[in-house]
Amino acid sequence: MALVKLDSMYQDVILDHYKHPHGRGLRDGDAEVHHVNPTCGDEITLRVRYDGERIADVSYEGQGCSISQASASVLNELLVGKELEQARRIQGAFLELMQSRGQLTPDDAMEELLEDAVAFAGVSKYPARVKCALLSWMAWKDATAQALGAGDEDGPKERTA
């Protein structure tokens, strides 16, 4: 049976990250958050460590579907080593892509910004799965707000669900 449509969600890049996650495991951090996706039971515990405005580490432990776990791996790969301002641009672009309901075709600039995270474009067509993909990104945003203090414009308590 050809699972043509599904292949657009389960890109090889995503399955690779799922099977071989980057940076998994909890290490020292400035803040730790625990986020859950109550509709399916995906969970993530995520820590961030900052070196000034530079992301020194994002470490995580979690359980859940391939989309949620692969997304955390991609996040680690993309954000560690980046300056906060750039990381926020990447997070914003990923959020925009995931909320596009499959209507957005990433352009060159977005592809360059999102790298492997572009592979999640297909997931945006499945409303029930968007929360899975965003789980770690919302956790990162929350942890960052906590680590860097109340100066964050988005406040500390946003949850993915």
């Binding site: 699972l3 449509k5 399916c40 859940g64």
Partner: protein, 422 residues
């Protein structure tokens, strides 16, 4: 398909039955026929119920119990007629013991609030205990947690055995002289387990505790007699038994309904009202504040007629045969672990399982691509997942329209899932 199995022992004529359910003809994702295995979440609706709903709105729509015009009288007769049908369906001693709510959750919250506001001897307070089980749906956990938090009562629960049954070995320590209420599910929505009635009822009666039964997964699937299960209250919902959403039932023993206080106040539930105080209508109206779900009750009445015409014993036998076949086939799937009883004895038509370490969300997605609708997640019974050390399950659930061929489709579908993530 490896089997069509017509003439299966105990089998209903599903070919005829399926013609009554228009949605079962749906074709999804480039030509895949819908295989609906999510009836424990909500059942599909037969044409007879859909017709009753549209006939009500097209011909009789009015508010009930007020007004003397023709439509008001017809609407009232239809609404109260639905109460008669439901009362007969569950063998209630009196029609006045059948309270319409919006769903089973509301029914259970209603009981919890009746007891929280009651006078002695029913009052739940800080010296008393509430007993539930670890296999409850959240709708039979959270109302009791709220009641315990608000009154200071202690909440206790029966644990589960490794094979998915209630652990009754400590029943005398759990249900004590302090216990005011024992609330348990007759059939688990996640494990499929049918729970024993006798032992719990006997112990509850010994200590004078009230017994509340969540029958949401039982009433749709088997001949049900409220007088046989030795309960004081029974909750269930219409949409899992071919009825529409928005209609639930609470059955309660008449003397309790007379003694216990109302929860929601409003129109319909009163006798007289002054600016200082009110007196209340007799049950069931005392517990039905505001305009009730009239069309939904009428639809539930039609669903009861539909199920009764087929015969609840026949439906139960059909599901038993399907579950027996499904368990046999599922247990042959590599890496598949059933969460719950692995035989069809004392078991309902919901089967939960895990498939290796493939997350149920991924299982459900790949099945959906093949037109197969299952439920994935914790099924509003998260304590069960914690108990068995799993994040979630995939659940296939069956009903009177389910066929052995659909079981085969599921098993084939799971093979694709394994290949996809293997």
């Amino acid at each position: 398909m490896t089997s069509s199995r017509r003439g299966f022992p105990g089998h209903l004529d599903t070919e005829a039955i399926r013609k009554d359910f228009p949605v079962l003809d749906r074709v999804l994702h480039d030509g895949k026929k819908l295989v609906y295995l999510d009836s424990a979440a909500t059942s599909q609706k037969p044409r007879q119920v859909l017709d009753a709903l549209s006939d009500y709105y097209e011909q009789h729509n009015a508010n009930v119990h007020r007004g003397v015009h023709v439509l008001a009288e017809e609407a009232t007769a239809l609404y109260e007629g639905a109460r008669d049908k439901v009362a007969a369906f569950i063998n209630a001693p009196s029609r006045d013991e059948v309270i319409f709510t919006k769903n089973a959750s509301e029914s259970l919250n209603l009981v919890a609030n009746m007891l929280g506001w009651a006078d002695e001897p029913y009052r739940v307070d800080s010296d008393t205990e509430i007993v539930i089980t670890e296999m409850e749906h959240h709708s039979n956990i959270v109302p009791w947690q709220l009641l315990a938090q608000r009154t200071g009562a202690k909440l206790k629960w029966f644990g589960l055995t490794d094979d998915g049954r209630l652990d009754l070995s400590r029943i005398d320590e759990l249900i004590t002289e302090k216990t005011k209420v024992v609330s348990y599910t007759l059939a688990s929505n996640i494990l499929g387990t049918f729970n024993p009635v006798e032992e719990i009822a006997r112990r509850a009666q010994e200590v004078g505790a009230l017994v509340v039964v969540d029958a949401s997964q039982a009433v749709p699937h088997t001949a049900f007699d409220v007088q046989a299960i030795q309960a004081d209250f029974v909750a269930f919902t219409g949409h899992k038994m071919c009825g529409p959403t928005g209609i639930g039932v609470l059955w309660g023993r008449q003397e309790l309904l007379e003694d216990l206080p109302p929860f929601l106040g409003g129109g319909e539930m009163i006798e007289t009202v002054s600016m200082h105080s009110s007196t209340y209508a007799p049950a069931p109206h005392k517990f039905e504040a505001g305009t009730p779900p009239i069309a939904q009750a009428v639809g539930l009445g039609a669903a009861v007629d539909y199920l009764s015409a087929i015969g609840m014993d026949k439906i139960a036998a059909h599901e038993h045969a399907i579950v027996e076949y499904a368990l046999e086939r599922l247990l042959q799937v590599p890496d598949l672990r059933i969460i719950g009883p692995t035989t069809a004895e004392d078991r309902g038509a919901a089967i939960s399982f895990t498939l290796g370490d493939i997350h149920p969300h991924d299982v459900g997605q790949v099945l959906d691509e093949q037109g197969i609708a299952v439920r994935v997640g914790h099924h509003c019974a998260r304590p069960v997942c914690l108990r068995y050390g799993i994040p979630a399950t995939t659940r296939a659930s069956f009903y009177l329209y389910s066929t052995p061929a659909e079981v085969d489709a599921l098993v084939d579908g799971l093979e694709h899932v394994r290949n996809f993530f293997g």
